[in-house]
């Protein structure tokens, strides 16, 4: 299987903290790859580097065999890489439908940008997309009036509206009430499978990872310390100690 995205030797340090310290990572076409790791390990940095928001100090990234390092986020999006955000980046003064429609319209050319945003084609596609995410009932609401779960889904829907071949998701379920979490994951799994999109997601919740991922990469101290199918990785004692264990303790602290 060829790599859709290939990262080689990525290095990036903020002051003394090495967020990436020689990372090699391949994303295979069609897979759902989870990146797990302790907080502050640099997982989000990876997404930021791939999408052009941060520039690594060394290394290379190729998408479909084409180097994309140094391109602006905008160019990278146009090549077919979209992302969602840990803190959903919605246009808060717009309705959910407008958000989605704007994302749909953003694929268009300049002249289509002069047509009304809410004309037939944009709206039809945006509505259909929101429907797939189960957000139809909320389409008319302003984006700042949604609960966290719906905001997360809308955020991802907007990324998907760009028809990417690679979707990067930064903690798609963080901040969502535990009771809603699995429902969101089910929606996501279904929608992404239907769309046939390759997806990379950073996640802390091992249940989500287990349900969602085809492969898991463990990001620890700026390196990929383990990579493999969820069954293997999540059972690895070292991973449990370094990553999952910490999560458990954090959870215990929060509970106490």
């Amino acid at each position: 299987m060829t790599a859709l995205l290939a990262a080689r030797g990525l290095r990036l340090a903020f002051g003394g903290v090495k967020a990436a310290d020689g990372v090699d990572l391949d994303v295979r076409a069609g897979e759902h790859l989870a990146i797990i790791g302790p907080n502050g390990a640099g997982k989000t940095t990876f997404i930021n580097m791939v999408t052009g928001y941060l520039k690594p100090q060394a290394g290379e990234i190729a998408f479909e065999g084409r180097p994309i390092l140094g391109l602006s986020p905008r160019r990278i999006v146009r090549l077919g890489i979209a992302r969602s955000f840990q803190l959903p980046q919605l246009f808060t003064e717009h309705t959910v439908l407008q958000n989605a429609a704007l994302a749909v319209a953003s694929r268009g050319t300049f002249w289509s940008a002069i047509r009304p945003l809410l004309d037939g084609a944009h709206v039809a596609e945006a509505s259909e997309l929101l429907g797939r995410f189960g957000l139809s009932d909320l389409a008319g609401r302003r984006a700042d009036a949604l609960n966290e779960g719906a905001r997360k889904l809308a955020d991802i829907a907007m990324a998907l509206a760009l028809k990417p071949r690679l979707l990067l998701m930064d903690e798609p379920t963080s901040g969502v009430a535990a009771s809603e979490k699995m429902a969101i994951v089910e929606t996501l799994v279904r929608v992404l499978r239907e769309a046939g999109v390759t997806a990379v997601f950073v996640e802390h919740d091992m249940d989500v990872v287990a349900r969602f991922a085809d492969r898991v990469a463990v990001w620890n101290q700026g390196r990929i310390s383990a990579l493999g199918p969820p069954a293997t990785i999540l059972e690895d004692p070292a991973v449990q100690r370094d990553v999952i264990g910490i999560r458990v303790r954090e959870g215990a602290d929060a509970a106490a």
């Binding site: 999408t51 905008r74 999006v77 980046q89 246009f91 003064e93 953003s106 047509r115 907007m158 990324a159």
Partner: protein, 319 residues
């Protein structure tokens, strides 16, 4: 055309008719109304920028640029239908050059760079005294309309008519623009500019397009002002003139293309009546009006009118 668009079109035409009627009934107001419409057109451009959350404290630059372009060209080319595109072109071209620079900045930096550039232009008008006559200004000759020389009275009417047509045209255009992805991207910029970039939309270019359009509209406003007062001075470019445009935008309300015109009428009429009532405290009256609008009706005159319209059916039901 949607029902709402039709309704707005009817309202706009009715407003135009009212303006003409008032100008016919009260001759001296024709001048004030023409100036108000000219400023309204300029404020339409401010409205676009406000949508993106950016406040330019220097758009008087484009009003003045076009007004001076008209004043310089008028002796050789005294034709309204040529002066208007000329002013729009000059302002638009300078807007493009300046825009390429200022759209990289946001908020205070955006506002202050615009202010700085307009003040530089203001100084240039003073410094090149031999050409511009400084604060004395330049007088425009009588302007022809479609090649016809008109008497002062008819010229006044013609300018008002041109102003109204331009206002209707730009109003309709801005309404369409704001509802298009380009326009929606402006307000999207205000809330989440980074997201736009991650959607492949070049935020700076979205702002640049709006900026150039706003310069063009300010330019058209400037030419109308020049043709109406027939005397241009550097005061057109002073920073308080830019502040006035923002003032009008907020007074009218940024929620609709009607806002700028409501604001401009409100502003000019308040100023005129305040000046007539208390010649040496009109500023204070304007200030108090503005403060009142911000504190009690932050949606501006448009927002006030709309909520009054919304409330009315209920009121009638009760009565």
């Amino acid at each position: 055309m949607s029902r709402r668009a039709l309704l707005e079109l009817v309202a706009a035409l009715a407003a135009a008719a009212i303006v003409l009627l008032v100008a016919a009934l009260v001759p001296w107001l024709r001048f004030v109304l023409t100036i108000a419409i000219a400023k309204g057109i300029a404020v339409l451009g401010i409205l676009l920028l406000l949508r993106a959350g950016q406040v330019s404290f220097g758009h008087a630059l484009y009003v003045a640029l076009a007004a001076y372009a008209a004043a310089f060209a008028a002796p050789r080319m005294p034709e309204a239908l040529l002066l208007l595109p000329l002013g729009a072109l000059v302002s638009g071209a300078v807007g493009l050059v300046v825009g390429l620079f200022v759209v990289r900045y946001r908020e205070i930096f955006f506002g202050m760079l615009n202010l700085a550039l307009s003040m530089v232009f203001y100084s240039v008008l003073e410094k090149f005294y031999a050409l511009t006559h400084g604060t004395d200004g330049i007088r425009l000759p009588a302007i022809r309309y479609v090649g016809t020389a008109l008497g002062p009275e008819e010229a006044g009417w013609a300018t008002l008519a041109v102003a109204i047509l331009l206002a209707l045209g730009f109003g309709a255009f801005v309404r369409v623009y704001l509802l298009s992805p380009m326009g929606e991207a402006l307000s999207a910029m205000k809330t989440r500019e980074t997201r736009l970039e991650f959607m492949g939309i070049p935020a700076r270019r979205v702002l640049l397009a709006a900026y150039v359009l706003s310069a063009v509209m300010a330019g058209c406003g400037g030419v109308i002002i020049a043709m109406t007062t027939r005397h241009v001075t550097p005061a057109l470019a002073y920073w308080t003139a830019s502040g006035e445009l923002v003032f009008i935008a907020i007074l009218g309300g940024a929620g609709s293309v009607f806002g700028p015109f409501l604001g401009a009428f409100g502003y000019e009429l308040t100023r005129t009546y305040a000046a007539a009532l208390v010649a040496d405290a009109w500023q204070m009256i304007l200030g108090i009006v503005l403060l009142g609008v911000i504190l009690f009706a932050p949606g501006g005159l448009w927002g006030m009118g709309r909520s009054a319209l919304r409330r009315r059916p209920a009121g009638e039901g009760a009565a």
